[in-house]
């Protein structure tokens, strides 16, 4: 009888040990996995914001304005009676072109694509013009640039009313 009890207890002990061990193991694994998951995200996020206010239309002179380029990756271009927000991502392989004021063109440092002030590609391997972002005027009269909406010239989207502000 006592031996039987002993056996019985042993088995119960075994299962309780097993479950404690198993739970610990799972918890450790989950902890490691969550640490690894956390590790794959940056501690500080320098991603430019997708929406920003860009001052008044009167702030901009004719031509290319670079003030939002470093913070938000956008050139404000005022040309031919239109003000629009030009993306600074090369349509070839996604490098960041430079604005060359003397030559009046954007030039990509990676494979040498060139774009006119309007964003239209004319030299190098870029297959299509730079993209434009949605731009609108808020009720306070400020310009709002929304980078989540993209207008592509080759799809005929540059005539869309929210792709530019008439000035």
């Amino acid at each position: 009888m006592s031996e039987e009890l002993q056996l019985h207890l042993n088995r119960r002990e075994f299962f309780s040990y097993l479950s404690v061990g198993w739970i610990t193991f799972t918890a450790a694994c989950a902890g490691m996995a969550s640490l690894a998951f956390r590790f794959s995200y940056p501690n500080v996020n320098f991603e430019p914001e997708m929406e920003f206010l860009a001052g008044k239309t009167s702030d901009y002179e004719e031509g290319v304005d670079e003030r939002w380029k470093n913070g938000f990756g956008v050139w404000m271009v005022k040309v031919e009676g239109k003000l629009f927000a030009l993306s600074n991502i090369c349509t070839h392989l996604g490098c960041i072109p430079n604005w060359l004021p003397a030559e009046l063109k954007f030039k990509c440092p990676c494979h040498g694509s060139g774009y006119y002030m309007t964003g239209v590609n004319f030299e190098g391997p870029a297959p299509r013009p730079l993209e434009r972002y949605a731009i609108s005027i808020t009720t306070e009269g400020l310009i709002k640039v929304d980078k989540t909406k993209i207008y592509r010239s080759e799809k005929g989207q540059w005539d869309h009313p929210s792709s530019f502000i008439p000035v």
């Binding site: 938000f72 430079n98 440092p109 990676c110 494979h111 297959p127």
Partner: protein, 358 residues
């Protein structure tokens, strides 16, 4: 003199020069592959290179830390190419005279144990390479640059040295082609070589005369396309990825007048003087036709020639067509480069609406 070299180095002139030199080298491999030739060219090139290095712009590119591997690569590749030709010439002369190739002589067929012969050599090489890399890392320090910024790129933005050939290829192609399709073709093609090439000649010994076509084809892709592009991408591309001669100062404002046009624009606007058709397929039809002809017509045409028939007979239809398609993939690169230089052609098929450009 420096002006002439700068002028000659421009891809439109240096690429054909390089290709011609390559074919001359293979044609006269028995002259090139002699010790005398090696000593004479060393005697000629050593002072020339010293004179090159006296130029401040040249030495600056050469000693730029990122470019050191390319210098090592140029030296080793020159040496090994010569060594191959030397051994080939030696064996071919023997075979012509009715003797066995050197490697087949009894004293060269002797076998040794891998332990200790091979293992000791390997151990020694591991230590030597480690020392070399450490010394190199101490002499040429990796620069510490500003934190990464997604809205700014260095100018010129250069890939690591082993990718510079690919980056230079991207100048002529859409990223899909030069970044995905062509590298895959290169890799698959290299893997397929032993399955396509079933010719037993040249197994285990050096020879050129018995494997002319195979060696020429492979070395063309390796030296003229890959290595040449790496050299251009490394030494001759400056700010804005503009071309700069080896003695030219990297002036940020050098402008190269360039205006690239798609084949469809040539076809509809320049030749027919009509506006571009709105239907995409109709717009790109000339390019599509040319591509289809290139890919589907050329293989049977080659297959019908005497040369093609010989290969089909030797290795079979399937091997022949795979081989021709791989070669066509390889030749598409020089074709596209030459079209860009001569006609400012951008894309043969340009369908940016579908992210598809050829």
């Amino acid at each position: 003199m420096k002006e002439i070299i700068n002028w000659m180095a421009e891809p439109i002139r240096s690429f054909p020069t390089f290709a011609i030199l390559f074919f001359l080298m293979l044609k006269h491999y028995k002259t090139v592959g002699t010790k005398k030739f090696a000593y004479i060219s060393l005697a000629v090139f050593f002072p020339a290179i010293c004179w090159f290095c006296a130029d401040p712009n040249f030495i600056k590119i050469i000693l730029w830390p990122d470019n050191i591997p390319i210098n090592i690569l140029i030296i080793t590749i020159t040496f090994f190419t010569w060594l191959t030709l030397y051994k080939c010439a030696e064996n071919d002369n023997r075979i012509e005279a009715g003797q066995l190739p050197l490697e087949a002589l009894p004293e060269n067929r002797e076998k040794v144990w891998s332990w200790p012969n091979l293992v000791y050599t390997e151990l020694f090489m591991i230590i030597a390479c480690t020392i070399f890399l450490i010394v190199w890392a101490i002499i040429f320090k990796a620069p510490l640059e500003e934190p990464a910024n997604p809205t700014w790129a260095p100018n010129p933005a250069k890939a690591p040295w082993y990718f510079l050939g690919l980056q230079e290829m991207l100048v002529y192609f859409d990223p899909w082609m030069a970044g995905v399709v062509l590298p895959v073709i290169i890799l698959v093609g290299l893997i397929l070589i032993p399955y396509i090439d079933t010719n037993p000649k040249g197994n285990g010994y050096y020879t050129f005369a018995e494997r002319k076509m195979a060696i020429t084809g492979f070395m063309f892709g390796w030296l003229v396309l890959w290595i040449y592009l790496i050299i251009v991408g490394t030494f001759l591309r400056g700010p804005n990825w503009t071309f700069y001669g080896p003695f030219e100062f990297w002036d940020f404002h050098k402008v190269e007048p360039m205006y690239n046009v798609n084949l469809s624009e040539y076809f509809w606007i320049k030749i027919f003087n009509t506006p571009m058709p709105t239907s995409l397929i109709l717009r790109e039809i000339p390019g599509i036709i040319i591509t289809v002809i290139y890919l589907l017509m050329i293989p049977p045409i080659i297959g019908a020639t005497k040369f093609g028939k010989k290969i089909i007979e030797k290795s079979g239809q399937i091997r022949f067509y795979i081989f021709v398609m791989l070669v066509l993939g390889m030749t598409s690169l020089p074709i596209k480069m030459i079209l860009r230089w001569l006609f400012d052609l951008k894309y043969i098929i340009a369908l940016p609406e579908w992210e598809l450009n050829l």
